[in-house]
Structures are given as C-alpha cells and as structure tokens.
C-alpha cells in the first residue's frame, strides 16, 4: 500500500526509506531507566533507526527518583530545566563495575529530558504515593527551605495551570504539564514527523502536532485493556482513544493489539499498521555453552516480568503446583517486582510450595543474564501481552520458551510452546515435558535461537520509516 501512496505522489523519489527523515520521538523510559519492555523497545528501535539514517530527537520524562540516579548518571546532571540538545553519553554503574557505554550506533539520536515523575506502568494512585514520598524527603533534607515546590518551577512551568500548589500531585495534570513542556521543546526543533510511544506521551504528541502541523504517529505498545482487564481507567482510556484518533497512523506491536485498537477504540483498520518488535542479539553467546557443566540436578523454571495481573503470575503458581505433584527436583524462580508480589508470595505459601518458589525481586543487567543461564524453561503466562520482548531475550539466551496464546509474540514465534494462560493443566503438562525430555528442550532451543535472529529491530525501524514516509507524503500540500 505504500507503493500506491508513493505512485500517487509520483515525483517524490525517496531512494531509501529513512534518508533525510527527522523524527521527534516522545517516550517514557530509555535504558538504563528501564522497568519494562517499552524502554527496551525504544532503545532497539532508535538504535536501528539511527543505522538507517533516520535522525531521532528523543524526549523523555526523566524520573527524579533518587534510587535510579545511584545506578545511572546522565551527562550534565545538574541541569534540571530544558537542556539544550546533547549527544548522549551514558554511564552505567552496575554493582562495583563501572562500564562506559559508548552509544556509537545512536549517533543520530539526540536526547532531551523533561523532569517529571512520570514512570511507565504506574497507576495514578501510585503516582500520588510517590509524590508524597518525594515531598516528605524534601521536607526532611531541606527543612529550612520553605518553598518545596520551587524545585519544580525549573521543570518548565505550565502557566495555564493557575493552581500550582497541587498540580504535581495528579498524574494526569503531570502528563499535561509534560505535554506543555514538550511543545516548548519541539518548537525550537526541526523535524518531519512526531512519534509518540504509549498513552502518557499522546497528549504531548497531539499538542506538538497541533502547534507544528507535523504528522503524528502513535505507537501502541500496550492498551488500558491489557493493563487492567475490563476494569479500565476511563481517563486513561480517553487519553489513549484521543491519541489514536488524532494520529495520522497508529502503529501496534501485534495483530492482537491491532484488533483491540480497532474493536475497543474504534480506530479504522486502514489507519493501523502492525510493526513487530525485534530483539538485540546476545553478544556473549558462547558463554552459555559451558553452563551445562555447572548445573546441579535441580531444574529451574523461570518467570521474568512484573508481578502484576497482566502477566498472569497466579497461573504460573497453579501450574507450578501441578508440576511439583509429578516431579520434585524443580525450582520456580519469579524474577521481578510488582503490585501483586506480596499476594503471590502469600499464595505460594498457602499452596504449600513456598520452598519451591523463589522470588528475586527486580533484576537488571548481569543478573538477568545469570538467571537466564540457569533456567531450563522460560514461562510467560500473560493474560494479555501486546507483544512481549522477554521471550525473545530468553531464546536469545538459549532458553526455550512457553508463552501464552494471549500474547503478540505468539504471532511471530513458531519454535515456542504455546498455551492458553488459563489452561494450567496444559501449562504444567508442557513444563513437565520440557523438564523430562531433553530432546524437546534441545530442539526448541536450537530452532528458537535461530528463529529469533530473524526478528530484527532493523526491520521494525524500516517499517516505521515507511510509515513516516507515508504520513509525510499525505501531509505534503498539493500544488
């Protein structure tokens, strides 16, 4: 269909998609500020775009949570207000080891941070808690300073909001303040297209599109229905809906999500394009070969992800219980944190399998690598997973995967075991098969690792660039 669009314009010849394109991208998180797949996706996508020659200006709300700043430093950390464009150099400190990450391939990407407490996957209630924590800390550390909120003034004031006393206490107002700030950043920039990732950035995207007249592409990595089931937050739903309807194109990460966008948000099908995520290839491949020698006779089944309703942790436990009824030398590792963590720990104890289920908390970097190297099987029992990059990473680490049919990644993986998330008998049946029959594990690993190499961010970036080209041509006024 792009070809048709291209031939309509006729004289516009773009030899290679991506050349001479400049995109203003609005995100929530970026490595190393990662709490989920979105940051990984933005990283992979922008890296590949940069290779393709697409210039990216990346705006993201920089979290002010102190816990992050101990792990990570950004250049010019003392600059709180709008930073002039800068080339990214990020230092990551992991444990005792200090690695200088040279973002060579990101040379076409510029980063702008907007101070904000926006964090992906947060619920409004959590936001208020966090905000109160923040105020409390500020009070303790700077009790002399009467005006706590002076800190926030530097963030770029959102002057339309007269009641400056509490606007930061409301996540939705924060989103709008982020939007206002992003507009102010955008007017000083020159770009062709706006690309907004997920709902928190949609208002900013809409505002920038309104002010600059540039086409807007929204990228749906997840919808409110995925996160909350049927108990949707109406305000978030409205923001999502408005973003999708205001956009010139809606990119979804799977057909599963595309169907939700069409059926639940009333977006017309022609406007929706599926762009599958990719995966960064594991560079330390050979390492994993010698792991077999160091393994004890205990098998490890891994759940890696946020412990929250959307990810189906309770189905994992129910399956674990059934597996343990047949086989004793298995440990179930749940790596991640989330709002259901406590209830899941209690549930495991209540089921009498507390000693067989290990909780590691949120893992990063090398620890993720380590846990993959230990695992015999990765299970993603998601209730609703728009895509799901984690299984690709597991395959990339030579770990076979069992994924729910209710995930977008099930559309692209053939060399994976699949199950309906509610079918815990079948889930246990498949887990047991992998643990009992080494040839199954071997075949899955062999083919899966090969298959995952075909899912490249370069293809995702190319598809996005085609979509940019499409919306750009449509907005070229006819002469």
């Amino acid at each position: 269909m792009y070809d048709t669009a291209g031939s309509d314009v006729g004289c516009v010849s773009v030899p290679l998609w991506g050349l001479n394109m400049k995109v203003f991208m609005l995100g929530w998180e970026f490595p190393p500020f990662i709490s989920g797949g979105l940051g990984t996706a933005c990283y992979g996508l922008t890296k590949a775009m940069s290779k393709l020659g697409v210039e990216v200006i990346f705006a993201l709300p920089k979290s002010i949570d102190e816990a992050y700043s101990t792990h990570v430093k950004l250049l010019s950390p003392n600059s709180l207000a709008w930073r002039p464009r800068m080339n990214l150099g990020v230092e990551i400190i992991e444990g005792q080891e200090r690695t200088d990450v040279v973002y060579d391939r990101l040379r076409n990407v510029q980063f702008h941070e907007i101070e904000s407490m926006l964090e992906p996957y947060n619920r409004p209630e959590h936001y208020i808690e966090r905000f109160e924590d923040y105020i409390r800390q500020k009070r303790l550390s700077r009790s002399k300073d009467g005006d706590i909120l002076s800190d926030f003034d530097d963030f770029g004031d959102y002057s339309n909001d007269s009641d400056s006393g509490d606007y930061c206490g409301n996540m939705f107002q924060e989103i709008h303040r982020y939007a206002g700030s992003a507009v102010r950043l955008a007017v000083h920039e020159d770009f062709d297209v706006i690309h907004a990732h997920d709902w928190m950035t949609y208002p900013a995207g809409i505002a920038i599109a309104a002010v600059t007249g540039k086409p807007l592409v929204v990228h749906v990595h997840s919808t409110e229905f995925d996160r909350s089931g049927e108990h949707v937050n109406q305000v978030i739903y409205d923001i999502e809906r408005k973003g999708m309807h205001s956009a010139d194109k809606v990119i979804t990460v799977s057909h599963l999500t595309r169907n939700i966008v069409i059926s639940r948000y009333g977006v017309i099908g022609e406007k929706c394009e599926v762009v599958y995520n990719g995966v960064e290839l594991n560079s330390n491949g050979p390492q994993s070969i010698n792991r077999t020698g160091i393994r004890s006779n205990e098998k490890i089944v891994l759940f890696l992800g946020r412990i929250t309703m959307q990810k189906g942790p309770e189905y994992f436990l129910q399956a674990a219980k059934r597996v343990l009824g047949e086989m004793d030398n298995v440990k179930f590792v749940m790596a991640g944190s989330g709002d259901m963590m406590n209830s899941i720990i209690e549930m495991a104890a209540g089921m009498g399998i507390g000693d067989k289920v290990l909780f590691t908390g949120f893992l990063r970097g090398k620890d993720v690598q380590r846990v993959y190297e230990m695992a015999d099987l990765y299970v993603m029992p998601s209730v609703s997973e728009p895509f799901g990059i984690a299984p690709l990473e597991a395959l990339n680490h030579d770990v076979p995967v069992l994924i729910s049919n209710q995930s977008g990644v099930a559309e692209v993986l053939t060399h994976a075991l699949k199950v309906d998330f509610w079918d815990v008998d079948e889930m246990a049946n498949k887990i047991l098969a992998v643990l009992k029959y080494p040839p199954l594990q071997m075949t899955l690993r062999e083919h899966g690792n090969f298959e995952v190499r075909k899912l490249r961010w370069e293809d995702a970036a190319e598809n996005c660039a085609k979509i940019y080209g499409d919306v750009m041509m449509r907005t070229i006024p006819a002469y």
């Binding site: 060399h415 075991l417 699949k418 049946n429 075949t443 083919h447």
Partner: protein, 408 residues
Amino acid sequence: MPSVCFYFQVHQPFRLRHYTVFDKSDSYFDKIKNHQICRKVADKCYLPANRLLLDTIKRFGGEFKVSYSITGTLMEQFHKYCPEVMSTFDALAETGCVEFLAETYYHSLSFLYSRSEFVDQVFKHVDMTQKLFGQKPRVFRNTELIYNNDLANTIEAMGQFDAIIIEGADKILWGRSPNFLYQPPNSKHVKLLLKNYLLSDDIAFRFSNRSWKEYPLFADKFARWINRINGNGNVVNLFMDYETFGEHQWEDTGIFDFIRELPGQILQNPDNNFLTPSEVIDRYDAVDTVDVPHTISWADAERDLTAWLGNAMQSNALHAVYRIEGMIKEARDERLIKDWRKLQTSDHFYYMCTKYFTDGDVHKYFSPYDSPYDSYINYMNVLSSLEKRCSALESDDELEVADTAVAV
C-alpha cells in the same frame, strides 16, 4: 511399450487424542477425529475414486489396471467407520485388474529399528490381504518407500516376494532411466520397480498448481509425455498416495476427469498398455543393478529419512517406542501390543518434523497438531502411560506367580 504401472498408497493413521501427563486413561486414540477424517476422506476420495476406477476398468474391458496397498491401520478404520469402502475395494479386487501389494501392517518404520517386528508386521499385512482380497502379495513396498540394500536382502530372505517398489531417486540412478526394472546387488531374483517421480509428481503435486508452466494438465498432454518414452523404457511407474484423487487435489481441480480420460488417451497408441506390478516383473527383465547403501524414501526433496528422523525429538521418540519392544511382548497382553504397534505408525513421527515448519508447508497440512513440539509431548505422554501399564501388568504377573508358589 511402454507399459504404465499405477500404484496407489492408501493409508490413514490412528491419530492420538490430546493426552497430558496427568491423564490416567488407557484410551489413547481420538475416536471422534479418526472417525471424522475417515468419513471425510472416504466421501471425497476413496468412494468416488473407487467408483471411477471400477467404471474405467469395466469400460476398457480389462485393458486398464491398477495396484494398491492398503495399510492395516486404515483397514481397521474402514471396518469401524466406513464399511462400504471395503466393499468397493472388494469389487475392485474381483475385476482381476487390480493387484494388492504388501507392506507393514502398521505403516511403521520398524525396518529401521527391529527386524523381527518388521517381519511380523509384513506377515500380518500379507495375511490381511489374503483374507480380504484373496490375493497373496508378490510385491512389497516399505513404508514411505524407505529402502536400502539391506531391505532388499531382508525381503528376499523372507522368500515371499518377487519385487520391491522404490523411489526412482536421482542419487541412486546416476543418470539412468527409472523406466526399466533393476535389481539389488547380490540379489538372486528380487526385482526393483522404480517410481518415475517426475511424471508421478506431475499428477500428485503439480496438477493444480497454477504457477506450473504445464498448468492445466489434461490427459492428452500427459499421454504425449508417456508416448515420448516409447523406445526408451519398458515401464512408467506412476506411484502416489491414493488421497491425491479428491483429497490432495480436490474434485474441482478436474483430477477425476483427468484420470477418467487418461486410459483412453494412453491406449490410443497401440504400443502402450497398462500392467500391474506382478505383470511387469513377469514381462520384463532387470537391466542393471542399483546400489543403495544409504537409506532413501519418497519424501520431500531430500528423498531421505529426515521427515521422520530429522531432529532430536523424532529420534528420541522412535528409540523410546522400540526400546520397550521386549517388555511389551513379554507381557503377552493383546491390547497392549496393539496399542504399542499403533504408536509405531510413521505419521506420529512425521508430525514432529521441524523441517520447513516455519514456512507452513505440506508437513503442517497433514498434522493434527499446532506444532511439532505439541505432537512430541503428546506422543511421549502416551508412550509413558503405555510403559506404566506394561510394568503394572508385569508386577501383577509376579504377584500371581508368588501366589501360586505359596499355594503349592
């Protein structure tokens, strides 16, 4: 010359039902699905094709001939689900223009894993054919035309057969024509009929392929290709799955019209005729030997074993099923042995094939599973249940022995 020799493979496996590791039942086969498929294929293929061939044989007054091998697993299903199909085969047998060949009763790969089991299954099939059609097969075809020199030796040693049907693979012919009879090295009397895979696959696979440059294929064109062989071959062996007619190639592709027209077109040339495999070996001599040290088959482009034995799962499952042979046979439980033999059917291993799985090709079309992994898991669960049943029987026996000992 040349003679045209048709041979059709007629087979359906006993498909397994969904069987998890938690299942305790000893019923492994999906009765509903097997019934449905048997019914469907009977309606689309077996019944109309049998009727058509019966008519054609009558129309040509004995000039048109064909041959079949029908597996035991399908015969049992006909008996249960579609007995009327059996009577149409019976009618075909009575024409005198139809020959029935022998194969392993369970369409198994037993030749590769257990010679004694292989011989048992071949005799079981011979017995069935004799009982149902009143013919003692003289020609053998192994499952999926799996063949090597060793098979020829085994078959010759059985003293029952005069010929074997094999794939006319390029890698065994070295540029020679498949349109002659050959013999295995060191063979006293067994002859080999080689499938002309180009002409066979024109019908079986390419017939309805619109991107094939010969599409559409009509009987007159095909007869011209046969005529071209005149003077350069004795027999054109057209071997294919019987399900080609109406199942693989649907009726609306014109496949039935094609086969209805074909005998007339071929017999227009007085040099041509139709022969059954036994008539072929009686009429022609072997012109040369073909040496097949490595195993060949008629599957895929590779013509090797990789469709059933191409990955670790398949190899594991096959070893696992033959590993318990001794234990199963010692248990002397008729049902147990039957279940075990039904698990040997090659289709179970074909479903586990990961070759081309991603491209969604022919392997996927024939599989009742969503993925090769699911089929392996299911198979292994069933096999482990079978093994448990067997061990339970054995321990029962021991108890009985102990009881009698006490009584004595």
